[in-house]
């Protein structure tokens, strides 16, 4: 039985999370309904000759992965596994608009190349001269979890140091489309935050979160992965059963969970998935949420993981993340649950170590 230690984490998000001097007390709830990342000092991480071509997602991915690798003291990972639901949208849109607006003339290759979903993984490998296994998962809101599962398999197969991450970008035109079909929350509905929301849609944002997963524990270790399970579709009344089954498979039950991290995003049509768990299953458990800080995107669950890691290491739960207020003497076992619009359900189990 192998262990999977999270030994380095890096995050670029709507909050100034790439600034390692800051913590959750410096972050604030998002007030706008479409929020770009808080730009890191890219030049501190990427050579100018390389920056010039990179999309925002690629740059954020490189920053977040650099932070994670540095923290874990890894020069060359044995695998780079990335998840991205929508890929590098800005470049996709740029290239497509060039095609349509200029009737297929005077197009240049840069935005086409940058638009391929595995560009982030490819650029990270290029920067590190890393010739190892490199794969990109593009499975909507379980893209990141697919990377997580693969990384555990790689360690089972004998690897020691794996880099995984989740990256998604806002594409202006794509966001407009999603506004048309009611997926984006109206800004006027955000006045009272996303908890107990009575309006549809979620805050659209973007981010890159990377993690160094290793076989062995280190000084920098945050937590251990125990297990991950994903489901394409679940009805609201199926979630508790599946969750129990997942915990039982890992020789645990609901009462063993010290903290539940929920992907609540303020969409009244789908937050009921979480409400039931909050009211009933986990009513005696410390409940935490994070999308009021990160916004929603296909790999936002990776932000939840990043937050959970910090909580487990610090053994303290920032006020801004708390839904309720329970006494938690030690934060040992943490369960994360996320879904998006009733699909792409994931359960992730972590423990302190």
């Amino acid at each position: 039985m192998n262990n999977y230690y999270i030994n380095g984490i890096g995050c670029v998000s709507a909050q100034d999370t790439s600034n390692l001097e800051l913590n959750f007390s410096d972050f604030s709830e998002l007030k706008n309904n479409i929020v770009d990342v808080f730009k890191p000092n890219y030049k501190a991480f990427i050579k100018p000759a390389m920056i010039r071509r990179m999309s925002s997602g690629v740059k954020s991915g490189i920053v977040a992965s650099s932070i994670a690798l540095k923290e874990a003291n890894i020069d060359l990972p044995e695998a780079i596994i990335t998840g991205s639901g929508m890929g590098c949208l800005r470049d996709s849109e740029k290239f497509l608009e060039g095609i349509i607006n200029n009737n297929e003339q005077y197009l240049t290759p840069t935005s086409f190349i940058q638009s391929t979903h595995n560009t982030v993984g490819g650029q990270i490998a290029l920067g590190l001269s890393c010739k190892s296994y490199n794969v990109t998962y593009v499975h909507q809101a379980t893209s990141f979890e697919s990377s997580l599962i693969d990384s555990m398999m790689m360690i089972d197969e004998g690897s020691d140091h794996i880099l995984i991450g989740g990256v998604d970008e806002i594409g202006p035109h794509t966001t407009e489309n999603h506004e048309l079909v009611g997926h984006v929350k109206k800004e006027s509905d955000l006045k009272n935050g996303i908890l107990n929301s009575d309006s549809k849609g979620s805050v659209f944002s973007e981010g890159a979160q990377f993690f160094a997963i290793e076989r062995d524990k280190k000084n920098s270790t945050y937590a251990k992965f125990i297990d991950v399970a994903v489901y394409d579709k679940l009805e609201i009344d199926e979630v508790e059963n599946k969750m129990n089954q997942f915990l039982n498979d890992n020789k645990m039950q609901i009462s063993d969970i010290d903290m539940i991290v929920l992907g609540i995003n303020g969409d009244i049509d789908y937050d009921e998935y979480y409400n039931l768990l909050m009211r009933k299953t986990f009513k005696n458990t410390q409940q935490v949420y994070y999308k009021h800080l990160s916004g929603e995107y296909n790999t936002a669950s990776a932000f939840g993981l990043w937050a959970a890691c910090k909580i487990i290491k610090d053994q303290s739960i920032p006020k801004i993340l708390k839904i309720n207020n329970k006494e938690v003497p030690t934060i040992n076992n943490v369960l994360l649950y996320n879904q998006y619009r009733g699909l792409s359900h994931s359960f992730t189990l972590l423990s302190s170590c």
Binding site: S92, F95, I113, T116, G122, A125, K131, Y137, T174, D232
Partner: protein, 399 residues
């Protein structure tokens, strides 16, 4: 004790046939499916040739019996047709009987619809159903739903090596016991996006592509979908399934050289082939046939040739690229070529490398140019994509 990975079913649709049988017939009849593009109105239509599938979207909707309200992209339609053939071929009646998964690959996804309706969504409300069909994961979820599959699903996108990586992941999941059975493969349709993308890279040929030829000028794009059903050999035995072959080797490595070009000495390709042989516990001389990536771009064929020489030295096995038949089907390439590799294994046949006349000066490798009957025990199949993504699979007749 790690499990053997048996292949119990296949399905394919490409410009040379709508089924495995039709593809096989075209391969042995040397019937290429390369032509001028007909279904997409592009200003480049007289300057390119493609491997286009004859079915219209409407025809495929009929075949799949989809409701009119469906929001399937052409990619999803192709994928579902091929998956259904594979599942039938594997004689699966209860899809969830064992821990069964689906791992698909694509690079185009719903882009064919997005590019059609990009500015229409505001005014045409009935087209808005395609907004959700854009993402690459959408076709995978549609197929799973249509099969009633409740097990693990995922989607991979690593450009031209996508389907090979999906097949590799499936094999690893079976070996580890995470899954008992998995449907793996990929699909991509032609689109203005990819046609223009490759045009800007100046690697499209105006004529029929010439893999491994000194005078090659570039690739022909194609569209296709192909899927394999993999089962652990235990389950295959238990269910008394006919085994078409086994996946005995697989690997993925990164060239880490340039975003789109391959390194001159084919470093990533060499690493991938080497590792696949290690996983299969085979030496190079045991490979009877290489189904090469062979896109006919100046860069790939030169780089891949060098890598082949680095691995096989003076004893180069029979090899060919089948892209002269189908064009380069991007994310589906690894999957259709997996089907062709298995057909080669099953029938002891090597399919020719079409349009070859003169070898590349630097490497002088000569592919097979006729249909050859030869005893084949192990086939190596390569797929190399942008982002330096290099993948290789080894298929074997027996474990």
């Amino acid at each position: 004790m790690s499990k053997g990975v048996a292949i119990t079913g296949m399905g394919i649709i490409s410009s040379i046939g709508n089924t495995v049988e039709e593809n096989f017939q075209s391969l042995i009849d040397k019937n290429a499916g390369i032509s001028k593009i007909s279904k997409i109105d592009t200003i480049h239509k007289d300057e390119i040739k493609v491997g286009e599938i004859s079915f219209t979207n409407d025809e495929m909707v009929q075949i799949l019996n989809l409701p009119e309200s469906n929001n399937y992209s052409r990619t999803a339609l192709l994928a579902e047709i091929a998956v259904k053939e594979a599942v039938n071929n594997a004689k699966i009646t209860d899809i969830n009987k064992y821990k069964t998964g689906l791992i698909s690959a694509t690079s185009v996804g719903g882009m064919d619809m997005t590019e059609r309706y990009y500015y229409s969504y505001k005014d045409e409300v009935d087209k808005r159903k395609y907004i959700d069909a854009h993402s690459l994961g959408d076709s995978t979820l549609k197929i799973a739903s249509s099969l009633g599959l409740t097990g693990y699903t995922s989607t991979i996108s690593t450009a031209c090596s996508s389907a090979t990586n999906a097949i590799m992941l499936g094999a690893r999941m079976i070996k580890s016991g995470k899954l008992d059975r998995v449907i793996v493969g990929g699909a991509d349709c032609l689109s203005k996006f990819t046609i223009n993308g490759f045009k800007t890279l100046m690697i499209l040929s105006e004529t029929d592509c010439m893999p491994f030829d000194k005078n090659r000028t570039g690739l022909n794009l194609g569209e296709a979908a192909a899927y394999l059903v993999l089962e652990s050999d235990e389950i295959a035995k238990k269910e008394n399934k006919k085994v078409l072959g086994y996946i005995t080797g697989y690997a993925n490595a990164n060239d880490a050289f340039h975003q789109t070009a391959s390194s001159e000495d084919g470093e990533g390709a060499t690493l991938a082939m080497k590792k696949a042989l290690e996983v299969a516990k085979k030496s190079p001389k045991e490979i009877d046939y290489i189904n090469a990536h062979g896109t006919a771009t100046p860069n790939n064929d030169s780089s891949e040739s060098k890598a082949i020489i680095r691995i096989f030295g003076k004893t180069i096995p029979s090899f060919s690229s089948t892209k002269g038949y189908t064009g380069h089907t991007l994310a589906a390439a690894g999957a259709i070529e997996a089907v062709y590799s298995i057909l080669a294994l099953q029938n002891d046949i090597i399919f020719p490398n079409l349009n070859f006349k003169t070898p590349i000066e630097e490497t002088l490798l000569i592919p097979e140019t006729e249909v050859i009957n030869k005893k084949i025990k192990h086939v190596l199949s390569n797929s190399f994509g942008f982002g330096g993504n290099c993948s290789s699979l080894i298929f074997s007749k027996e474990l």
